[in-house]
Structure formats: C-alpha cells, structure tokens
C-alpha cells in the first residue's frame, strides 16, 4: 500500500490512564480518511499524534515509510498541517495569519504574500487580507485557519471537525474546494468528524473511534440505491426495500444508526415500518455489555444490542433474526 501513515499498537496515556489504543491503522496517501466517533472518543488525541504534536506512549508510527521517532517529531511537523476544532487566530491581520507558517519555513515575503492570497481564494476569502483576524465571524475564522494550512501545501492535512461553524451551503463549497485540492496535489487528508455523512460526501475511507478504540469501517448502516417511482418514501437498494419517513424528494444513500435497529427472533407487531428477516453472520463485542451483530438480510444490517438482550433472545451466529427499525430512523445522506 502507498501509505501516508501506518500505526501499530499505538497507545496514548495521560498519566496512568490510557485514552487511546490503536492496534492497527493504515492511512493511504492522496485521499481522504475519516475518523468518525462521538465527542470524547479520542479523535482529537489521535489527530495530535498524527500531527506529531505528541509522541505516543507506546507503539510504532510510520510516516511515508519512515519511523516517526520522538527526536524527529519537530521536523515531521513541517510536513503536516493541523486544523484545530476551534482554531486560534493570531492577533494580527488575516494575511499575516495565513502567511505565518510560511515565514516559519523561511519563505520570502513575496512568496508568502502570493501563497497567502491563493490560499484565501481557495476558502473564498479573497480580499480579506488586510482585515484584523479577531474581527471575523466564527465561520470566517475557521476558513482563515484552513487557508493557513492550505498555504503551506503540506503532504498531509489533518482536520478536526473542519466545517463545524459553517452553514450548509458554504460547507458544501469548501468540501468541494478541498476535494479539488486533494485531486490536484495528491494531498493526504485525515478528517475527524462526528458526522458520517461528511465522510461519505468526501469519499473518505472510514475508521470509527469509540472510547479511544479504533475500528475500521462505518459505524452505521449505509444503503445505496434509489427511490421507487410512484411509491413515496420507498427506497430500493436492489436487494431490499426500505421505508423512509418523511418521504424524501431525492435520495441515493441512506443511513440507519446501528443503535436504532431492534433485533427479535420472530416478526413483531410494532410501529417500525422496516422489518427485515436475515441470518446473523457476525457478532462481536461493541463495548462494555454490548454486542454488535451483523444480520445478512440481502444487505448486511448492523445492530448494537445489550449483552442481556442478546442472551435473552438466544441469538448466535448462523441463527435467523429479524432486524426492525422505524422509517423515521432512516436518514438521507
């Protein structure tokens, strides 16, 4: 694999408490990778490790084929750019903010000015150069911070909830600009987000983080397909049909949280409009007292249930099960 990062048995601890444990993580170069998880799951800590702002307490990190040893962290930092969740802007002009990382790298004033202007254009803030950074709105400040990274043209860009403060329209445009950027330069982008839909929009490889544990794959059920003409709120994946409420006008990708899926042994009379019969093909521990079960219903449906429910239902791999969820639990991506 043409990899930007490879992590093996990496852990990070505050004192005696290990807050992050990564058995294995491989991040390909030149594309988007998303770290998805709730607040406090360890996404920011992992980004700080990937940005070489901290050394792991244990394990091995490889960066573009070279080991990232503690003595090399400062040098490696120059090849990576990190956008904080709540970015800090220096108490200077927008242009000086964007150009500061270039100054650190020894670029001439003319080159700094040229690159800063170009980066501001990418985030749609051309003409903002002379403005005082602290007078900007939250969204503008986030874009200036993004421009500060883009100006550096680093090999890797790490983004911690990058579009938090942006309205939906601007977010889509900034995402498009980022995608263009990655395509043109082959930049590797690692994105921490709690929003799986953003990961999908960017076409990112998804890793999920939960309580500091990393797992490859999507945390939710994602179904691709099309709406059935003449049957409002019915979505066809080619292998099964799902009901969506309220009926969307357009949808090619749907998501159902694994925690919204209810498992039973027999069909139940409930308000859930989606009831899918299938076979349990995988069962693993999802967390303390929780089981993540995969049911093959034509499409694979993942459900997270308590260990108690799992045992009460007597489910095991190979047994038949019914996966049910409400039409209102189905979200359009």
């Amino acid at each position: 694999m043409n990899g930007a990062y490879a992590l093996r048995d990496v852990g990070y601890a505050y004192g005696d408490r290990e807050v992050l444990a990564v058995d294995r993580l491989e991040i390909p170069s030149g594309r988007f990778t998303a770290l998805v998880g709730p607040n406090g799951s360890g996404k920011s800590t992992l980004l700080h490790l990937l940005g070489f702002l901290a050394a792991p307490s244990r394990g091995e990190m490889i960066f573009f084929g070279e080991p990232a040893t503690p003595s090399r962290l400062t040098a490696l930092r120059l090849r990576v750019g990190l956008l904080l969740q709540n970015p800090y802007l220096f108490h200077t002009s927008v242009a000086e903010n964007v150009a500061w990382g270039l100054k650190v790298r020894g670029y001439s004033p003319a080159e700094r000015s040229r690159r800063a202007k170009k980066a501001l254009d990418v985030v749609e803030l051309g003409g903002y150069e002379r403005r005082f950074a602290l007078a900007l709105s939250g969204g503008e400040a986030q874009r200036v911070a993004l421009a500060r990274l883009v100006a550096l043209e680093p090999e890797v860009i790490l983004l911690d909830e990058p579009t938090n403060h942006l309205d939906a329209e601007t977010r889509v445009r900034i995402e498009a600009a980022l995608q263009e950027w990655v395509r043109e330069r082959g930049t590797t982008v690692v994105l921490a987000t709690h929003d799986i839909t953003q990961a999908h929009r960017l076409g990112a490889a998804v890793w999920q983080l939960d309580s500091g544990r990393l797992r490859e794959g999507e945390p939710d059920n994602v179904f691709r397909g099309r709406l059935v003409a003449g049957e409002p709120g019915t979505f066809d994946t080619g292998k099964l049909r799902l009901r969506v409420s309220p009926p969307p006008e357009r949808a090619t990708c749907l998501r159902v949280s694994a925690r919204e899926v209810i498992l039973s042994r027999e069909p139940q009379v409930t308000s859930a409009l989606n009831s899918l019969r299938g076979t349990v093909v995988r069962a693993e521990v999802a967390g303390p007292g929780e089981i993540r079960a995969t049911i093959d219903c034509g499409e694979q449906v993942v459900a997270v249930v308590t260990l108690e429910s799992w045992e009460r239902l007597g489910l095991t791999v190979g047994r038949e099960a019914i996966a049910s969820f409400k039409a209102t639990s189905v979200k359009v991506l």
Partner: protein, 227 residues
C-alpha cells in the same frame, strides 16, 4: 502652598538646569534598571509559565515574597555586596549611577517576572498548539508567544519602570543622593522637603506624576487600539 505650586511650575517652565539634570538622571537610571529587569525577567516569567518542574511552587512563593520586599531591604542587601568591604567592593559601584541601577534591577526583577508570568498564563491554550502545529521551532515559538502576549508584556515593562522611577530607598542607599551625579527625583524630593524647600520638591513631584501618567497612558492607548 499655592505660592509653592506657582514657584514649582516656574522652575519647570523655565527649564531650570538643576531640575532637568535630576529628571534626566532619574529617567536614565530607572529606565536602565527596568530594561535590565525586563531582559532577565520576561524570559524567566515565560519559562515559569510554560514549564513544570520540581520546586516550581517554591519559586513562585519566593517570587511573591520578593514582590513585597521593602526597597530599603534591597538597598541594604546590595550595599552589603558593593560596599568597599563587600565581595563586589572592588567594582567601585557604591554611590554611582551603576550601583543604583543594580539595586533598581533587583527591585524591578520580581515585578517583570510576575507580570510576564501572568501575561503568558492568560494566553489562550490553543495558541501554543497552533504555533507548534504550524512547525515553529523553540525560538520561533517563544517569539510568537511574546508577540501574542505583547500587551501583558508591555504592562510588565511599564510596571517595572513605574517601580524603579518611584522608589527612594535604593537610590538613597546606593546612590547617596550626590548632587549632579546620583541625585534622582525621589531622593531630591526627600532632601528638599526635609530642608523645607517645597518648590523644587513639588516641581519634581509634578514631573514624576507626569512621567507615570504618560507611560501608563501610552500603554492604555496601545491596548485600546488592538485590544
């Protein structure tokens, strides 16, 4: 009292050379002491703010104690070192402007350290992460931190200068109040007042207040302009 005030204004207005020599000596010595205190105190304050080490609590305790040291105690301490029989007596600093500067430096140093420490501690913690994430080395990091905390740092310099220009104990003990050589505004005020010469004392007092006001007003304007 009114006639003394009028005479004091007259002395200032007429640019009395004796008055202005005292003013100049005072400004020179105080500025030198405050400058040296800032040069040593700002990095020390910054280090204390940014690092954690064994004994840091004790250092902070000693720093707070030093803030409350009476000027005459510092004067006495330095006197013991630079007097003819003291360990640094051979340098001939006693009753010279340089000797007073040493005392003023020690007087202002805890203030410079304390204000710098507070200024850096008051900075947004995201600043440090941002600076490092942008690839700065230690030197670039320190410069940027100082730049972002510039108003607090300026306050450290101003407070140090305020302390050195307004004190009398150190200047009296280490300078000896020698006319035309080590006489400062505060020692002159003390002397003239004890002699019953209120005019000169008042004139210098007015000047002292004006300097203090101007320096603080300058800082205020700077802070307001980009606060």
């Amino acid at each position: 009292m009114a006639s003394s005030l009028v005479s004091a204004w007259q002395l200032l207005w007429d640019f009395d050379p004796d008055v202005y020599f005292v003013v100049w000596t005072s400004l020179k010595i105080s500025a030198a002491g405050a400058f040296l205190a800032a040069v040593a105190g700002i990095p020390a304050g910054m280090t204390l703010a940014l690092t954690r080490f064994r004994g840091r609590g004790l250092v902070l305790l000693l720093l707070n104690t030093a803030l409350a040291l009476p000027t005459v105690v510092i004067g006495l301490f330095v006197y013991a070192f630079i007097s003819r029989r003291g360990p640094l007596g051979h340098l001939g600093l006693l009753f010279t402007p340089a000797g007073v500067v040493v005392g003023e430096l020690l007087l202002a140093l805890p203030i410079a350290v304390h204000y710098s420490l507070s200024a850096i501690q008051a900075l947004d913690p995201r600043l440090f992460l941002t600076i490092r994430s942008l690839g700065a080395n230690r030197w670039q990091e320190a410069r940027k931190i100082l730049s972002e905390g510039r108003f607090g740092i300026m306050a450290a310099v101003v407070a140090s200068f305020g302390r050195t220009i307004a004190e009398v104990g150190v200047a009296m003990m280490l300078g000896g109040n020698i006319e035309g050589f080590t006489r400062t505004m505060t020692t002159a005020i003390a002397l003239e007042t004890s002699k019953g010469e209120f005019e000169l004392g008042l004139a210098l007092g007015i000047f002292l207040l004006t300097v203090a006001f101007a320096v603080n007003a300058g800082l205020y304007v700077l802070q307001r302009s980009r606060g």
